[in-house]
Amino acid sequence: MHRENRHKSVLVIGGGIAGIQASLDLANMGFKVYLVEKSPSIGGRMAQLDKTFPTNDCAMCILAPKMIEASSHPNIELLTYSEIEKVSGEIGKFTVKIKKKASFVDWNKCTGCGLCLEGCPVIIPNEFDQGIGKRKAIYMLFPQAVPRKCVIDKREERPCKAACMDACPVHTNVPGYIKLIAEGQFKEAYKLIRETNPLPASVGRVCYAPCQEACNRGQLDEPLCICDLKRVPADQWNIEELEVPVVAETDKKVAIVGSGPAGLAAANDLALRGHEVTIFEALPEPGGMLRVGIPEYRLPKEILRQEIDYIQKLGVEIKTGVQVGKDITLEKLKKDYDAIFVAIGAHGGMKLGVEGEDIPGVMEGIGFLRATSLGEKVDVGKKVAVIGGGNTAIDCARTAKRLGAKEVTIVYRRSRTEMPASEEEVTAAETEGIKIEFLTTPSRFSTGNKKLAKMECVRMKLGEPDASGRPRPIPIRGSEFTVPVDTVIAALGQVPETDFAKKLGVSLSKRGTIEIDVRTGGTNVERVFAGGDVVTGPAFVIDAIAAGKKAARSIHQYLNGQPLEGEEPGKEPEKFSQAEIEDRKRRFPPRNKVEMREGPVKKRVQDFREVALGYSLEEALEEASRCLAGQIEGCIECHECERRCEPEAIVYTMKDETIALKVGAIILASGLGLYDISSLTEYGYGKIKNVITAMEFERLTAASGPTMGALKRPSDGKLPVNIAFIQCVGSRDFRNKTYCSSVCCMHATKEAMLAFEHHPGTKSTIFYMDMRAVGKRFQEYVARAKKDYNATYIRARPGRIEVNAENDNPIIWYEETTSGEIRSFEAELVVLAQAMVPQITQDLAEILGIELDENGFVEVPDKLLQPLDTTRLGIFACGYVHSPRDIPDSVTQASGAAGRTAEAIAGGK
């Protein structure tokens, strides 16, 4: 064929040192080179090595400049994370179809910064470290990766819709933290929750958990106990060990009025951005409703204190006992601070509007709970009636019981169906012996002996819906009755006390709540923001936290002089379709939730001990393992990487792409694979802990490896000072690989030297068949090992490795062939020189249309005169896939193959 018509381009398959060398040679000659590599980065096996023989140079130091040269060469196009699908045509005119695998990361945007890696909750054994180290589902192959990009190891679709995240007001990464709990990574789980919620242990006891309502597993059997799981990290790990990050300080000051969840969340986020935050709290203790509204038996104050403490460690100052509007004015704050966040909640009680409600003994619910939690003495008498039907009423009733009341009755004007209190609370109250009188309302209180003695009630019936949408209760004439009481607690609802804000001109609603721009949290007064119950009226803790975070975001933008961007609304939680339910039920057998154990009733009502006992470690792991998202291997699409990626490079919807290339010739340089030696059971690999492979040893001594270069043996992490190397494991073996793998004699010698360098005096014993030191200065290298590096060579092929149960030392049995004696040798670590195999599948050989020999190496048409050709014209081979050889020989062959290739396509135009 006329050479002019041959494409002046080459496909090089395999980005190891041979592929890189061939690419550079050809590119420098002026040909266009496509370098295809199936892993995310070029570098190949050499990148895994610590040092190379015979110079003992650092492998990466030699390799990296070549990798950079290849990636920046104008004639070389790197196609990593790609595979060959089809090869058609003939020499000079090949068409190659290449599949570029979806990395789910847009490499045009990814900067290789690695921030994504920290948040990923999926932990996987790292193949690059031969399974010794771990990586995440999103990962970079190794620190010096070329191209320096991340890929996401997504193997299957997540089996659920992660409706939990969408339902959560702060979009906590629920699948992420549950996965971390399932992996026993409690500190990481706590930190992950803290990204969106600064009070994990507290909220994990009281949240109303809209996530659980939405949980897709609930459509199969029972929803995950997400709330109960949220407190697990704090139960299993000491949160007081959480480190305080170093943050650059700004010169801005923010005042926050109110230290409830909204104020604390805003303070947390603003402090993490470097602003100076001061919280003004009217009560003597911080925490807001968490501290004075929710009783100790639901949320122990010690837990809340620890979490508030951490926020203070971030630099936030909380001034308690200072009431804004009385002790200090809002105007003064506006003068002294750059921004203000009003989050005083809704602590004002509502009056009953019933005759006799001023009699001592009739108290307001919020005040009652506050007094109790601040340690004041409250006398509840023996017969207590609690008026109301919300969680506050239940809290008052259960608290009254614990303060010694004999009989506690809740009086509610509607029926159980309309009762706003949560089911768990109502059940808990009834279990504790508290009665509930439905469809009843007090009409009058009266005294006896100058004290509160009687409560007159009237029965109600349900009529048409009122303003709240619930049926209006209508008194039934003639149904009045009287009951004896000595204490009445009215828990009818809360209102915010916002008079002090009027002076500044802050716009208030008819109910007294502060009006804000819902997107930003800003009020009509510049510099003043608001959020939480003071804006919405009584709501839930997590809503207040969401409001605090929103305000912090806006305040930060305001302080930076940026326009205030509201948050984008999240999407609605999705449900499974019927077909999806059937499919998931087939795939995942039904498992009931793990119930939270509670203290025995009789004991627990005697004091304020926490009722929920918390999951044990086993219970936590069991419940966490029910999460559908975590059922798969690989990425669970929790979006944590997406959240942290500033260039916004994450693309979950990426698909594989197929491209077609036209090339004139192809060079196969796919390198070496490692033979699986667990079939040689006599060596105990996989069973005896301290028997490892040579490549695992390289990863241990390599400075960027899983132990950062510390030579630690697997069983106990001890430094081994007596190491045995066994050669020809799987090589020169009719039962496994008949051929000699060529490099092991030298690499074992090298590893003996490295071990000595790590710890001078280390003794290495190498059990060999022959010492194959066939290169330039190789024999001298071996001699040096004996002379300077305490290496001993014993000619024997051990028959069996046993283990010393006391210290996990492997014991090698061998025949010392020069004397004929059977001996045993105890070492602290045994390194097996595993056989190496050509890294090419039969499938790829068929795609390329080339033949392989009986050992899988490339079949060469004429060993003498055409050693680098394959059986297909136009395709050449070099490196280990061609035949067993070391790095210098592979590089030599690569240049040879480049020469052959150039010869094939050069010429003409």
Binding site: L680, T681, E682, C728, R732, D733, F734, R735, N736, M769, A796, R797, P798, G799, R800, E802, W813, Y814, E815, E816, T817, G820, E821, I822
Partner: protein, 383 residues
């Protein structure tokens, strides 16, 4: 045939002199005069004469621990067998234990005119004149008087084998003039006598019309399966009794002995001929696991890593053989088991012999109950 021919035929020239064989050889472990590698080396280096006249030529147990992992795929036992044949031509026979009684008995059986009275022990067993199944008895009746004093009852194994077959609904044939399978003679170099025994057996079995042969002795089984086809034609299915039992566990409704409510720990000695020679490791274990009242605990070296009982073909039995057995019995003891189950009558004989030896050497005071698996099954199903 000379030594060069043997080397070529067995391809032992591939030997790399690596010593892996010797490192795992149970004999080499104690007997420093024996090394499979060294034996081969002498053959390859031209010291054939020395090799043939070396007493240690007859020390190999043919247990296959070596060849199982030889990287050069050398079949050392077959090499040994052939060299022993050569050696026997030069008057070398190894030392047959028990004053040569047992080999003499085997040779006697190779006479065409021998009439044996060998089935008196059949009481309680149901056999048939014509059946598809033939139970090959082996030398049990002859071992009985020789080893009764150490409480081995080989005839019990034979009897219980037939009773267990009966429990499966099989009434097998037995040959009234059965000959020794010839295993021991083949492995000590007497191929000629072996051939004769093989021919007699093949003839009688053909005449019986049997379709399936059942063995309780692994050596007989191995010999029929692997060695006979070279010399005779036999068109039968061959099975070890443990294979048959493992296929019929549900039929055998195993009940625990009433007097044994506690679970007894037991261990299992893989016979070389059943295990490494024929690859049968699981069926005996399945049977043991199916028997209620006993729990299997494996020795440190088990399955294809098992250690031989220390003597083969009654030849070169020595203090080294005893050391092998003492270590193996120690391994059995270390599992905590009270009973060692085997599936080979010879294993039982050898272990019991060592335990009965009241010599003063270290470890010969080990006591371990040893029983054949067939007897254990027979006890469990109360027959």
């Amino acid at each position: 045939m000379n030594l060069e021919d043997i080397i070529k035929e067995t391809k032992t020239y591939y030997c790399l002199e690596c010593g892996k064989c010797t490192a795992v050889c149970p004999v080499s472990r104690y007997n420093s005069n024996f090394s499979p590698r060294f034996m081969l080396e002498r053959a390859l280096m031209g010291f054939g004469d020395e090799l043939i006249h070396d007493r240690e030529l007859f020390s190999c147990l043919a247990c296959y621990a070596c060849s199982k992992l030889c990287p050069s795929d050398v079949d050392y036992p077959v090499f040994t067998q052939k060299v022993r044949n050569l050696a026997s031509g030069e008057g070398e026979h190894g030392d047959c234990a028990h004053s040569g009684t047992l080999h003499t008995l085997m040779r006697l059986m190779s006479r065409s005119d021998i009439k044996q009275r060998r089935l008196d022990w059949l009481d309680g067993c149901r056999t048939s004149e014509k059946s598809e199944v033939l139970y090959f008895v082996g030398c049990a009746p002859y071992f009985q008087p020789v080893f009764e004093d150490i409480e081995v009852n080989p005839v019990n194994i034979a009897r219980n084998s037939i009773k267990v077959l009966n429990a499966l609904g099989i009434e097998p044939m037995v040959l009234p003039n059965e000959r020794c399978c010839g295993h021991d003679l083949l492995w000590t170099g007497d191929v000629e006598t072996f051939k004769k025994l093989a021919q007699f057996n093949a003839q009688m079995i053909k005449e019986s019309g049997a379709k399936k042969l059942v063995f309780s002795c692994p050596e007989g089984y191995r010999t029929f399966k692997i060695d006979y086809p070279r010399y005779v034609e036999l068109d039968c299915e061959l099975m070890h009794i443990t294979e048959l039992l493992a296929q019929n566990l549900s039929t055998l409704s195993l009940r625990a002995k009433r007097s044994n409510p506690e679970v007894k720990l037991v261990t299992y000695q893989d016979p070389c001929r059943l295990g490494r020679h024929l690859g049968i490791y699981e069926p005996p274990r399945e049977i043991i696991k199916a028997i209620p009242g006993i729990k299997l605990v494996e020795m440190e070296h088990s399955g294809d890593d098992s250690i031989c009982c220390g003597t083969s073909a009654w030849t070169n039995c020595s203090s080294y053989s005893k050391e092998i057995r003492v270590e193996r019995l120690s391994e059995a003891k270390a599992t905590g088991a009270e009973l060692m189950i085997t599936a080979c009558p010879k294993c039982q004989i050898h272990f019991k012999c060592t335990m009965a030896d009241k010599g003063a050497e270290k470890g010969s005071d080990i006591k371990m109950e040893v029983m054949d698996l067939v007897n254990v099954v027979a006890n469990a199903i109360d027959i």
